[in-house]
Symmetry: C2
Subunit: 293 residues, 2 copies
């Protein structure tokens, strides 16, 4: 049980975390800060936070658990704003989709206070951002990746594991480097491809007419193209190297498919499609590696 949760950045992720902790009876009081006062006022009206903090630092004061849920690019400035109150024993976490840049910022700013920070990435979200969509069940049944450093306090890593588990998430630990390589492959590249694909369709002369004909396959394939632009600007920039590596692999795969289309080798084309189709049919979200076909 925590006395006070400090939420810095009262959006979908931070708001949902606050609601989940409240629902699970894990926290007595939530104090929230956002850059825009109208956001914190709204969060308070919605019952997501109990107290409005006038600054990020004041959201930390008196809190024994703090969640930074700001755009990844704002992480370093946020650390700077709060570093004087980053005390041992208080659990600090973020929710960023990239981890190397966040960890680098934490190293630069927090220095000897680094032990209090447990970098976290919950694999959850919605296309509908903002506090109005905050949902106590957002993290239930989802994975949360923790990327602790050698300096991170082991008891805080345990506390972080416990709190995410208590709100229904499955906790995994890995290095920031492995995290960023993996998510470049399974999340960041698909977003880049969806943005690029949607842009290419809408940007052609008959694009609007084409869109009026699109069906459920298009709908699902492009759902992530509607994601938050600031967030994805930051992710595509912060994890650029790994994403471009994955894009190279993807282009080689696309080349191979197109070569078979051009050569008329329909048997080989079918074999490649079948491998993908059976692989995808055997995949299940959240299933551990060993049970994937």
């Amino acid at each position: 049980m925590f006395q006070q949760l400090g939420v810095i950045g009262c959006g979908l992720m931070g708001g949902s975390f606050a609601l989940a902790l409240k629902r699970a009876g894990l926290v007595k009081r939530v104090i929230g800060y956002s850059k825009s006062p109208s956001t914190t006022e709204r969060a308070k009206k919605l019952g997501v936070i109990d107290v409005v903090a006038e600054s990020a630092l004041l959201a930390v004061a008196g809190s024994d658990i703090v969640l930074l849920s700001v755009p990844v690019a704002a992480t370093e400035a946020t650390f700077k704003a709060i570093r004087h109150l980053v005390e041992p024993g208080v659990l600090f976490m973020d929710v960023g989709s990239t981890k190397r840049d966040v960890v680098d910022a934490a190293r630069r700013v927090l220095r000897e206070r680094l032990a209090s920070f447990v970098p976290a990435h919950p694999i959850a979200g919605k296309e509908l951002a903002g506090i109005g969509h905050a949902d106590a069940a957002l993290y239930a049944g989802r994975q949360v990746i923790l990327t602790p450093l050698p300096q991170t306090a082991p008891d805080l890593v345990q506390k972080a594991t416990d709190v995410w588990s208590a709100i229904g998430a499955q906790v995994l630990k890995m290095t920031p480097e492995n995290h960023d390589a993996a998510f470049a492959a399974v999340s960041h590249l698909p977003h880049l491809l969806a943005f690029a694909y949607f842009s290419s369709v809408v940007g052609q002369p008959a694009g609007r007419d084409f869109l009026s004909l699109a069906g459920p396959g298009f709908r699902d394939f492009t759902r992530i193209a509607a994601s938050n632009p600031e967030m994805w600007r930051d992710v595509l920039t912060a994890n650029r190297e790994e994403i471009l590596k994955q894009s190279q692999r993807f282009r080689q795969s696309l080349d191979a498919f197109e070569q078979l289309m051009l050569s008329g080798n329909t048997d080989a084309l079918e074999t490649m499609i079948r491998a993908a189709a059976e692989g995808r049919a055997g995949w299940q979200m959240g299933a551990p590696r060993s049970t994937q076909r």
Copy 2:
């Protein structure tokens, strides 16, 4: 009201059409043929068809409406098998995802009997193929594209429009060429990209580990990668030219995004992501062109 529907190819599409006509009280009897006798037996047990036909030709005999729901590559052979019973006044339709190749096959084989064939493409489907997934509601609320030729009998085009409308679909007419260009953009390319993307992830050394971390964005983006391999082998082959044109456009768009990622021009990157995100957020499946943002 039709006396007898002949279904050639008792799979998801043909079976769902039969169930929809039955539910709407539009047909007295359904006769079905499939290459595999076990499929037609199953269709009969499930109540999708009433009578098993021993050949495609026998499924046409005595029918006043006939649906060819065979893989696109099998269309020409099917036309050959039934051409002697392609009579004026009987409505013949297909359900193929490509239309130029189907129309070319019809021209070659049916010749003076071409008037009876109304090429059709219902924008509906599931990843779960086969008669066991046939669903009377599959076409409700979906679009159906008809691509009649100058030779097509106008009264049969009207009949086709009426029967699809009666089972809840919205009917549009266009040329086979426009159809294939549009669906290369909004359906065929996304499938190709999804196959290529899934293959590239699963084909790398850590691919299986990466897959165990993938979340809901990945799930939706790759859903169509689980589509039917034979069908998509045929579509990617039959509409190759238009798909490769669309792929070129897509690659240019991807290049533009990656250039901005590399240049560090985060403002321009955000602008491009925002255009895609707002475009996608304003898109609605099945909405006419004029109401799309």
